[in-house]
Amino acid sequence: MADVKAAPRAASSSWARQTQHGDTIFWLFTLLFALLIVGLVVAVGIVTYNGSAEVRERYGWSFLWQTEWNPVETELSPATFGAWPAIRGTLLSSFFALLLAGPIGVAIGIFLAELCPLRIKQPLGFMVELLAAIPSVIYGLWGVAVFGPFFTQYIATPVSDTIGQLIPWLAGPVASGRGLALASIVIALMVLPTVAAITRDVLMAVPNSQREVLLSLGATRWEVIWLAVLPYARAGIIGGVMLGLGRALGETMAATMLIGNSTRIEGSLFLPATTSASLIASELTNANDTLHESALIAIALVLFCITLLLNMAARYLVWQTSRGPAGARA
């Protein structure tokens, strides 16, 4: 009898143990893969850090603000590598792109979420999302073959001939039209759908009660949006803009095809320039020597760090607002 009693207990506890083991093993297993994601990020950091060792040793931090980028070594001057033209190009092109895409993207989001007639809401939203899915090289293709010549002929040249006489930033002479202005516009076009889609989603999540309060006070439709909906969704919209910024910073193909690829720093937006991404894209496979290579990898590292910082800032913002609305402040 003792045996009979003992046996089932042993069996059930071993099943329980097995189950526990099974659960733990599974948890560990999936955790491992999830940690791989972290590993990938770390890998990017490590690879770019190591790959840029040579140029970092040579220049230190000054690499970031040196203005001359000349990979060609001649008898008269050694090759010099300064990242500033690339960094400047990235910052400027992203800034201008966001200057355009931010307000326009938010406006599109407002239209889609608040003002659009129900019947066309879905198809229109889909079209905007489609813009986001088009590969960047196709934007570049269109930019080079269609928009670029149009821009050069009807926008860049007239502007540089007239206003450009007064404002150095818009000065000519405009040659191919490739430069910061053209690239920024096309990058803005690429970033638009991101900002618009996120704005739309965030606005649609605003509870209707907020709108009704303002309506009952006799507000016009725009006033309802401006005074009740937008403030409520402010954090989300900023998040969307930051995401758009991230996209703009990393944009490679359209930028490479439209920026003109010149490492000289020019004052005018209509003259060729370069961005970090396009510099790497155009030079890495034909690098002259290991120093050249490491300089390019260093630029990749800089780009990655900027993206990292941007993501952290965005996360912080989300964390801030989720701690509670407005708190004790108005």
């Binding site: 770019t48 899915a133 590969p135 196709i138 570049g140 269109w142 790497i280 990749a300 993501n311």
Partner: protein
């Protein structure tokens, strides 16, 4: 009238309301018009270069046309090589204006893009093969186990990867694989693409798993099955179609990326299915062909872009349809 006299500022507010609402409509038009233009141009110009040859042949150098045997002394090539007139002063091709053919030249096609199609499919598929298990497992971890700071950190890393500049990912592929093995290869390209595809799959897996109704989970647990068993055999299969759409989306994204491939696979004029060697891909071909001085190749760029665009848009449409059906079924 008691209603109207009370609000002296009504006229101004009404005007502002109409104007600002109109602005949002304008903004939306500003986004839709380029979309239509881009798709239109690619379809029309690209579509016209489609032919059986286009899909079945690989790269051929531009064919000289009726050269009559004249060799240009400066370049050593027939003077109307590839349907392009060479400027005798500089020896460089004179570019034809967009959409126009050089006078009195017959543009010969430059072969097809079969190698690109094969290359894109193989490289992206390999990347998917690697990313799928990692992404799905990571997604399971994030969805099934309680949220804690580790999970938040993993999600943060996933966001960073997803938004990382694609050129940086290309640099990693370049440094890790290309330099290690001293050769450009499809493998390197696939590795680079996984950095971008894993976060996409992880996120969609997580979201779709979260959508599985709690009732299903509880039913599985009530049967006495341990958590890992019920997850694997009940919950994941329920979400299988969602995971599949995630994979599709990731595939579309990977197929459209150019920058990582630029630095890793380099491209190949011949049809090659060997992933350990340089291989071609559609976005790369688009880039190469539009930058080429030969109008015949420029034309090919449009055709390639068309194929690529159809692929991406097609997948997105498919995903949309399937997703709405899944959400309905849930």
């Amino acid at each position: 009238m008691s209603i109207q006299t009370n609000m002296g500022n009504y006229a101004g507010r009404a005007a502002a309301d109409r104007t600002l609402r109109g602005c949002t409509v304008l903004a939306t038009a500003l986004a839709i018009i380029p979309l239509v233009l881009i798709i239109g141009y690619v379809t029309v110009i690209g579509g016209s270069s489609l032919s059986v040859d286009f899909f079945t042949q690989t790269y051929k150098p531009p064919v000289p046309v009726d050269s009559g045997g004249e060799i240009d002394p400066t370049t050593g090539l027939p003077s109307d090589f590839g349907g392009v007139t060479l400027d005798p002063a500089t020896g460089l091709p004179i570019e034809a204006p967009v959409g126009e053919a050089l006078p009195a030249q017959d543009i010969q096609s430059s072969g097809g893009v079969l190698h690109g199609i094969v290359g894109t499919i193989m490289v992206t598929f390999l990347a998917l093969l690697i990313s799928l298990p990692v992404g799905v497992m990571a997604g399971i971890f994030l969805a099934e186990y309680p949220s804690n700071s580790l999970a938040t950190f993993i999600r943060f890393c996933s966001d960073v990867l997803s938004g990382a500049p694609s050129i940086v990912v290309g640099v990693v592929g370049f440094t890790l694989i290309v330099q290690r093995f001293q050769t450009y290869s499809g493998l390197a390209g696939a590795v680079a693409l996984t950095f971008l595809m894993v976060p996409t799959i992880a996120r969609t897996t997580e979201e779709i798993l979260k959508l599985v109704p709690n009732a299903t989970r509880e039913a599985a647990m009530a049967m006495g099955a341990p958590q890992w068993y019920s997850t694997l055999t009940v919950i994941v299969p329920t979400a299988l179609s969602g995971i599949a759409t995630g994979a599709l989306l990731a595939f579309a994204r990977g197929a459209g990326e150019t920058a990582p491939l630029l630095l890793t696979i380099q491209g190949n004029s011949n049809l090659s299915a060997n992933l350990l060697e340089p291989i071609a891909a559609l976005p790369l071909l688009t880039y190469k062909y539009i930058e080429s001085p030969f109008p015949a190749e420029n034309q090919l760029a449009w055709g390639t872009a068309f194929v690529l665009m159809m692929l991406v848009i097609g997948v997105n449409l498919l995903v949309r349809v399937v997703t709405s059906r899944i959400k309905g079924a849930m």
